[in-house]
Subunit: 383 residues, 2 copies
């Protein structure tokens, strides 16, 4: 038996075992692929929408303040302290006292990805939902894992969401749906709907859950969190990975009516009682409480974004109007794939999606001013 | 409309909205209930099998060594460094070099509960599995969430697992199964099978996955991790919550053939790319590397357990032989429920399961010697 033959036998045996051991469900999954985290050399990393600035200094103090002997104890499975902090934070942002959030309107998760995953079995499994055809590519992956049928609603040619497509879906038959998942701003386009537009969608679909993924809302979009007391069907999902510079700590949250939060808790408590560790909770709380750092940080990114957009347009790029910490760009003559590989050679990572409709675009995260100047310089050398 | 009427209307409306919004799946879930974490007073907490001793001091140094500005970056989604550390750790425990583990045999999760949750869609969804009728009460909860049929195999009267019931299940028709989930030692009984017995089960079921939940293995049981290179169908699940005093950090791992690890990765990457945060990974690595602390810690608990067992037997208790950091006890005359409430009054929390077959037993975690003396003293006052 030569080596090649041995390897073939091993592969055949592997394929049989895989079919024996893995469930039909698992065999049919096509997992999400996150932006690469290469270790071969140092890159200017503009490919995973990370924040270029460190988190609040108060996060360090909070994390170092966690007593190490307490780590032997399970964390609070309900993250009560953190949920109270988040409810208070949003209550502090609005003037009116008529309809306030409480901790019962808040759900914590191990990143907003985990919360989005829970949204499916909580509200969508066995149902038929809609989301835009160009959007966060994790949505169809969740749908497959949690057996949810979905229809992708095409964006307009300028990558904007047509609000009319999402109205009164409970009564539209084949063009209807039992649930809506909509990112605002959308990814990877960066385009945002206004608060009034999202409210139209929520108000016209009182019978079904409308989940609004606001991962990127803090970079210029209008959040609908303050509409939660008004609409029982509205769930808003946030992350601390972007505007609070804590991608490495894994914290996200959802805000919704107590009924929707109960739905998420049923799933979470059938999956893992303790999704939030003691240190992540302490760090997250400190980040939420540091308003000044948050505002300074996001304003810097918005300013850099606007400056870079101007420069890119002058270089012959069209840039989708962005309210996110990334921009979605294409050049009038140079194919995106070519630019992607060219930038990579020059030590700059951006994200390229080899998919219909968007395969001539690049998604570029907004880094520091220095990083963006390196990016612009590299780009200039390629066109 | 009086207040009571208004509340009724609100409840009726709530019930209708719940049916509208929650999926049939979510409406049918009966979540797991973890041991209580009361905040009303200070208790001697012997109810959630936490370790009474702090984690290794090296965990603190590792956690404080995580550069805070790195928290802005996503963690390594594959936890490569930690997986290498764990493979090396187990390789170091065996003499023979013939069949070694690599990082491809290791899967990390946000606590072993998350890994157990992933085990269901990876291997069991749509299939028919077996586990003991008295066991970790999360198993049927996972089965409901991930649409797995199951049969509970009765324990013998002394709470031991009858190995014959688990042999050759692929060919047994109605008494067979497509998967086996078995905790060793079992919970809440504490009874363990020998390594040879587990190997019999694994070897006689080569066509189906045998998942062995070794959450409590380090307190005197015999791990089957070193059988993984020999059996493609064996998955062993560990946690750092018990023997490594890190319940608050949320880290668990599974060891299995590359085929089984691939199954888990498919599910994890369809659920949440980044389940392990940067700090938890750093702390876990330090804990795994501190062999001395680990051995000292678990040996203390084993010694305390043996001493307490002797005392309890002298007091008229029967104690199920335990290889875990808890004991399962019942008294010859005093009902367990009465003792549970009596202990609670006296500031001592233990776990009582109001379930058939075990509703006259208490599960008591092994605390420090001082805590166990308080427990024994309180118990003496009640009988």
């Amino acid at each position: 038996m030569n080596a090649k033959h041995g390897k073939m036998l091993k592969n055949e045996k592997g394929a049989i075992l895989m079919k024996n051991f893995l469930s039909q469900l698992a065999l049919g999954l096509e997992p999400y692929v996150p932006g690469e985290q290469p270790k071969d050399r140092k890159y200017v990393k503009l490919n995973t929408n990370e924040n270029p600035y460190p988190p609040s200094e108060k996060v360090e103090a909070a994390i170092h303040g966690v007593a190490m002997d307490q780590l032997r104890l399970y964390p609070d499975p309900e993250s009560t302290d953190l949920r109270v902090t988040i409810a208070d934070y949003f209550n502090g942002l609005v003037d009116c006292e008529s309809a306030l959030l409480t901790a019962n309107n808040v759900f914590m998760g191990n990143g907003s990805d985990e919360i989005l995953a829970f949204v499916f079995p909580a509200f969508f499994t066995g149902r038929y939902i809609v989301f835009p055809n160009i959007t966060y590519s994790f949505y169809p992956v969740y749908a497959n894992l949690f057996q949810t049928e979905y229809r992708e609603i095409p964006l307009l040619e300028d990558f904007s969401v047509r609000v009319e497509d999402y109205l009164n879906l409970a009564s539209k038959g084949d063009l209807g749906a039992d649930g809506i998942l909509i990112p605002n701003p959308n990814a990877p386009t960066g385009r945002a709907l206004s608060k009034a537009e999202i409210e139209q969608i929520v108000a016209s679909n009182p019978e079904i859950v409308v989940a609004v993924d606001e991962a990127y809302i803090d970079f210029g979009g209008e959040s609908v969190v303050d509409l939660v007391p008004k609409y029982d069907n509205l769930l808003v999902i946030h992350t601390l990975s972007k505007s609070r510079s804590l991608a490495g700590l894994r914290v996200g949250f959802a805000i919704g009516s107590d009924i929707l939060i109960d739905g998420l808790n049923r799933v979470k408590n059938s999956f893992n009682s303790y999704t939030m560790d003691r240190i992540a909770m302490a760090g997250a709380k400190a980040a939420i409480l540091d308003h000044d750092h948050f505002n300074e940080n996001r304003n810097k990114i918005i300013a850099t974004r606007e400056r870079v957009v101007g420069r890119l347009e002058a270089m012959g790029f069209s840039v989708v109007p962005s309210k996110a910490n990334f921009i979605f760009i294409s050049h009038e003559t140079k194919p995106a794939a070519e630019l992607f590989y060219g930038l990579r050679e020059l030590g700059i990572l951006v994200r390229y999606f080899k998919k219909p409709l968007i395969d001539n675009h690049l998604r570029v995260s907004i880094g520091t001013d220095e990083e963006m100047d390196q990016f612009l310089k590299a780009l200039a050398s390629l066109i």
